[in-house]
């Protein structure tokens, strides 16, 4: 176990090996591990951010939902109001229409009655004339006694 020139060779070998290990093992692998750590840290912070954003979105969704509900309530209320208005309107219109129809019917009836009365009057006049003819057994000139007959008819 003597110390000899091997010492120098081993020193050179050691220094070279340090250089090589740094070059091919330490530098690439530690860079990779650092990158991975950074990636994980980034991922974690992104997840944290995502969670926060999700919370915000949930809150927003709740607000929107609440808004929608009140709006729906409003619309429903309005619709109800409008519906009852329409019904009310229809009722009024229907009543008016009924009145109108009733009035026109009344007018027609009256017209019919007066027409029937006229017809009857004429009939009575002719019956009266023919009756008078029979009673008198003599020709009564319809034309000459027309005026008298007219008066007679009217008085009936």
């Amino acid at each position: 176990m003597s110390i000899n020139a091997t010492l120098l060779i081993q020193m050179i070998a050691f220094v070279l090996l340090i250089w090589f290990v740094n070059k091919v093992l330490w530098a690439p692998l530690s860079k990779l591990m650092e990158d991975r750590q950074k990636k994980i840290a980034d991922g974690l912070s992104a997840a944290e951010k995502g969670k926060h954003e999700l919370e915000l979105a949930e809150q927003k969704a709740k607000e929107v939902l609440k808004d929608a509900k009140t709006q729906a309530q409003n619309i429903l209320g309005q619709a109800e109001k409008r519906g009852s208005e329409i019904v009310e309107d229809a009722k009024v219109k229907a009543a008016e229409e009924a009145d109108r129809i009733k009035a026109s019917a009344q007018a027609e009836i009256e017209q019919e009655v007066s027409r029937a009365r006229e017809g009857l009057r004429k009939e009575v006049a002719s019956i009266a004339i023919s009756g008078a003819e029979k009673i008198l057994a003599k020709e009564v000139d319809a034309a000459t006694h027309n005026d008298m007959l007219e008066t007679l008819v009217k008085s009936i």
Partner: protein, 283 residues
Amino acid sequence: MGTVEYIQHHLTNNTLALNAEAQEAIDKGQMTFWALNLDTIAISFLIGALIVFVAARLGKQLETGKPGGFQNFVESILDFVSTNVRDAFPGHNALIAPLALTIFLWVWLMNFMDLIPVDLLPMLFQVITGNEHAHLKVVPTTDLNTTLAMSFTVFALILFYNVKIKGVWGFTKMFLFHPFGKFLIPVNIVMTLIEEVSKPLSLALRLFGNMFAGELVFLLIALIGGTLAVGAAALFWAPLQVLLDLGWLIFHLLVITLQAFIFMVLTIVYLGMAHEDDAEMGH
């Protein structure tokens, strides 16, 4: 082959002399600087190349989203190392973490050679080379050259950052006024010197000692079967060897991990101390 020779053979490096004088010294069994431990260099280089090769292959199929099994495993090692760096190192320096990772991986894998059966690789080597006396010491961290090379490199970084962060004057002040203040300057210089020099030495010697001792125990366990298991006695000694080997292997798995971890953590701590400014030092 006798017991002592067996152990000595296993603990001798396959050495290449760089000049004639060195060859002469090696032949005589003396120490010489101008020689290379070929086995240590080859095995530690192969392990280093393995790390780079596997890392490069992994680098081609990295996944950010769903990492596969092996990438997960490597990532957990990386995580473990960077956690230690964060805990023990004040401030920021891009060099510390790759340095710590390199130390942990390289030392652990070199230590792991200790868990391969002690005779397997040397025997293979002897068969391949055709020389039945060929030396092969398989664990690079049982060679002081390897552990010292790493700790000296770390020491050079400690000095560099001490000067860079504290400045030349700040670093000098550390030697002059630390730890006993301005009235004991000579003592301070000696103390700080010992403190600083003991850092690389303790790093290197701790790892070397643990691995060397571990290897030695493996060799001794291997000797049970080799020397005592003859004839009918094998029925007793061979199972004992297997049992002891298994026990020591499991324990040693802990030791090699612990030693790699200690080397890494102490490196981080020492460099962390080098990065501290002299605000709290007495002057």
